[in-house]
């Protein structure tokens, strides 16, 4: 069955839109079509959070609530979901949701323009957690900017929710909404709007069929990068194929030797899976965009965009990850290090896509990762570094080092690695070898950092890794 109509729950009813413009953002739909103006446009690039909305979706028969940036999400992605807007939180102007009450009581608004976004982020937290630790609150709010200096009262408002009963209108209607969601999650989507097409197949077989019949088609997972073509560059994307409805791609396989992550897995989901294996991977992911971005953006999507500053890439590279490429006929596996060709160019050929990434688990190795950015949260790195070492009897048996932000592609420091291998794990070794950085990389000057700064930081991070592993100094400062 194929449908040209997207369906979602809005205001406790099933809402249908036939052949919507697949380049229309959810934000535009909310403001122009639904005529609801509580959701604001701040930056139109997923950076400020003023446009935050919440999507309810089914996972293992349970409703989970995801905050997302509606300004960089295309409308069709709400198919099969429960759309929750700021206006839906209070059933009338006199009956505020507990989150809204807290924001009023603790003076969490000044000019008020960022406020609906903060409320929606906090609402998602309220629904997904039962206790709100400082860590959860910080993470929740990392994707929302306030400019009137209101973070302290906003954080106070969030903390106060710990003493609130978590029951709300949404809890009451949960069963009804789950039933409705089950009803509308049945069909493949194929949308035609003027010259544009949008496909959301539910199986790999259908995906391959569509790819065979359509050339110049853009893959959509989170779309946090792709949508900027429309919102910032004023372009149009004629053909989009969404990977979001394909259950076969939404898997995480954990074995003793590796973790395999399907291309439909969001960064947010992945960060909790990788945490026990590589805590630093988790630490970096927590600073990757924001919750809104990580809720939709995928780990594999980060690989496919091949950005030189993609935060997961140096980490995956240093861990000797492999990727599985799905061709029309079969799946081939290659090392990630062979995937990137030049600036944003990869080995992917037409009709091919990334099926999954396989991350080896090695408990004996020392794994550390560092992100240097101008702002701690929700920022793009100037330099990102990742180290994965095997050290025995103070001899470096394996030295895997990868940097982001240091060249046009994320890549391993092969010359440094070679010089370190079989050397003594000592300050002296690192002090000498770090000077080979120029041989491995020639970074550029840009608005994030100068070439010299990048070089210095890259070298210093090598020393930091040494000091941290040797345990002599505690060098970690958190935000």
């Amino acid at each position: 069955m194929v449908s040209d109509t997207i369906q979602f729950i809005y205001n406790n009813k099933i809402y249908k839109v036939k052949n919507p413009d697949p380049n229309q953002t959810i934000l535009d739909f909310i403001r122009s079509d639904l005529k609801k103006t509580g959701t604001k446009e701040g930056c139109a690039e997923g950076g400020c959070g003023a446009c935050t909305i919440v999507l309810g979706e089914l996972k293992n028969k349970k409703l989970i609530y995801k905050s997302i940036n509606s300004c960089i999400s295309f409308l069709p992605i709400i198919n099969g979901k429960h759309l929750i807007l700021i206006e839906n939180l209070s059933s009338g102007s006199n009956k505020l949701h507990p989150v809204q009450e807290a924001m009023v009581k603790f003076h969490g608004s000044q000019c008020g323009f960022c406020t609906p976004g903060f409320v929606m982020s906090m609402f998602a937290m309220y629904k997904n957690f039962s206790k709100f630790s400082d860590e959860i609150i910080d993470e929740t709010l990392s994707g929302n900017l306030c400019r009137c200096t209101g973070y302290r009262p906003i954080i106070d408002a969030a903390k106060s929710l710990n003493s609130r009963n978590t029951n709300d209108e949404f809890k009451k209607n949960e069963k009804k909404n789950i039933n409705m969601l089950n009803k509308i999650q049945v069909e493949d989507i194929e949308i035609s709007y003027k010259n544009k097409k949008y496909f959301a197949p539910k199986t790999l077989t259908n995906l391959k069929r569509i790819l065979k019949n359509n050339s110049n088609i853009k893959f959509l997972s989170g779309g946090t990068d792709l949508s900027l073509e429309v919102t910032k560059k004023r372009g149009e994307i004629e053909k989009i194929i969404s990977l979001n409805s394909i259950k076969e791609l939404k898997f995480i396989k954990e074995t003793r030797k590796f973790i395999e992550v399907g291309s439909g897995v969001s960064l947010y989901e992945f960060q909790n899976v990788i945490k026990p294996y590589y805590p630093d991977f988790y630490n970096i992911l927590k600073r990757y965009g924001s919750v809104q971005i990580r809720n939709v953006g995928t780990l594999v999507g980060n690989i496919a965009t091949a950005s030189p500053i993609g935060d997961s890439l140096p980490l995956l590279l240093s861990l000797d990850s492999k990727i599985k490429i799905q061709t029309l006929k079969s799946i081939k596996t290659i090392p990630l290090s062979e995937f990137f060709l030049s600036y944003r160019k990869t080995k992917l050929k037409k009709g091919e896509f990334l099926y999954s990434v396989e991350i080896p688990i090695n408990k004996h190795n020392h794994f550390k990762a560092y992100k240097i950015s101008r702002r701690f949260d929700d920022d793009i790195s100037s330099v990102c570094a990742s180290f994965n070492f095997l050290i025995k009897k103070n001899i470096i048996l394996k030295a895997n080092i990868a940097y982001g932000g240091m060249s046009e592609i994320p890549k391993r420091a092969t010359i440094i690695e070679k010089a370190l291998t079989n050397s003594v794990f000592s300050e002296d070794t690192f002090s000498k070898v770090k000077n080979l950085m120029d041989a491995d990389y020639s970074p550029i000057d840009d608005m994030r950092a100068s070439k010299n700064y990048r070089m210095d930081v890259a070298k210093n991070l090598m020393m930091k890794f040494f000091y941290e592993v040797s345990g002599k100094q505690d060098l970690r400062v958190n935000s």
Partner: protein, 417 residues
């Protein structure tokens, strides 16, 4: 009611409930009239250049475009400068900063308007731009004659001092990033009147500037501001959005909404003045300043805007809380080919205060003293040492008591370790 009750009474924000529930109305939220058109601004892509030709044929023919306006469509004053001229709505002959508006369109949707302006072909003869404060000082490219405040004989006092240092200090520029970008909605009314909703901090001046642009009486323009989504000075003299919006409405006789795209907003509008200061200071072994000479320069951008007042504020705040008997401050207002720097929280005061605090810190470092002690010996006194460098007597001075109290309450000595 006792005073303390009045001060500590916990009142919720007047609009709090509306803010948190999405019902607080900002300009972009106002229900649009059915015949509305949407505007977009086309801007120059050179920092300094003569305009040879602007070809707008493709813009006019772009899908959905109903009107294009240039400087030729302005019936009255082609300037939005609040105090001095220098901020043309659309320049006639010369682009003076990267991002300067050159024309605007009205189209049937926001998207079509923004797509249309990208189709302009502008031909320039490039001129050498002046970008930094240092370049500007070197070329003596100033908006006004340098301003000097002098008291006593600082040159001699520095010369006689046991300790002297020279230094310089920079404070950077800053984007306002009001969460709600620049936006205006203009609705034509009877008798050539206009109702203009503008996200401005200064409705009355918006009214005057639009009236002058249209060569109409002020009372023919109503300006409404219910609330704005942050301003911080960035919406104090940014009249260009409302002016262009109203000009498009004047031309099309239809309601126009002009909401700047965030990137356009950042590129077109002015930011905080960055400052560069050079100083020479003489002081005794306690850090007491005997004489101080300051050169205080700021990047004002391509026009005066409010730069004179902002620099004045820096000049007058350079004492912060310190009595400096012999002092000279020279202020340079640098003209640069950048967006005109404008009001921003503190309005120059903070830049001046930062400069003197840096001097104090450097004296402390030089003497290897706790900077709190150096601050203390320089504070204004209650009954003496209480005349500022511009001749005002300081009354109700509590800095000495306040500072001591803060040191104790904050556990300063212990935390200083």
């Amino acid at each position: 009611m006792k005073n303390s009750e009045l001060i500590s009474k916990n009142l919720i924000h007047d609009s709090g409930k509306k803010h948190v529930s999405g019902f607080a109305e900002y300009i972009d939220d106002i229900t649009e009239p059915s015949n509305i058109l949407h505007g977009a601004i086309g801007w120059g892509k050179k920092a300094h250049a003569k305009i040879k030709k602007i070809d707008l044929k493709d813009v006019k023919n772009s899908e959905g475009v109903k009107a294009v306006v240039t400087y030729l469509d302005i019936p009255g004053r082609n300037d939005v400068g609040p105090v001095f001229d220098g901020d043309p709505i659309f320049p006639k002959t010369k682009v003076e900063y990267y991002g300067q508006p050159l024309f605007a369109v009205a189209a049937t949707s926001v998207d079509l308007a923004r797509k249309a302006v990208l189709k302009a072909k502008v031909y320039y003869k490039e001129l050498k731009p002046v970008i930094t404060i240092k370049e500007s000082l070197k070329k003596n490219n100033l908006l006004f004659k340098p301003r000097i405040i002098k008291k006593g004989n600082p040159t001699q006092k520095i010369l006689k001092s046991k300790n002297k240092i020279r230094g310089n200090f920079t404070t950077g520029s800053q984007e306002h990033f009001y969460l709600e970008g620049q936006v205006a909605l203009a609705i034509p009314k009877e008798d050539k009147n206009f109702l203009v909703y503008s996200s401005t901090q200064h409705p009355s001046e918006t009214q005057q500037i639009i009236a002058k642009m249209l060569n109409q009486k002020s009372n023919s323009v109503d300006v409404m501001v219910r609330r704005i989504g942050g301003g911080f000075g960035g919406k104090e003299t940014n009249f260009i959005t409302a002016a262009i919006c109203c000009l498009l409405s004047h031309k099309t006789k239809r309601p126009i909404k002009l909401r700047l795209d965030r990137d356009d907003d950042m590129i077109i509008t002015g930011k905080r003045h960055d400052f560069f200061s050079d100083y020479e200071v003489g002081f005794d072994d306690n850090g007491k300043i005997n004489g101080l000479k300051f050169k205080l320069a700021s990047r004002c951008g391509m026009s005066p805007d409010l730069s004179l007042a902002i620099n004045e504020r820096a000049l007058l705040h350079i004492d912060n809380a310190y009595f400096i008997k012999d002092i000279e401050v020279k202020n340079f207002l640098c003209k640069t080919n950048t967006a005109s720097s404008t009001a921003f929280r503190g309005f120059g005061g903070n830049q001046g205060m930062m400069a003197i605090e840096n001097v104090i810190d450097n004296i402390s470092r030089y003497l290897k003293k706790d900077s709190a002690d150096v601050r203390k010996v320089n504070f204004y006194g209650k009954n003496k040492n209480n005349i500022t460098h511009y001749g005002m007597k300081i009354k109700d001075n509590v800095i000495n008591e306040l500072f001591e109290e803060l040191k104790i309450k904050s556990n300063y000595k212990k935390r200083f370790q």
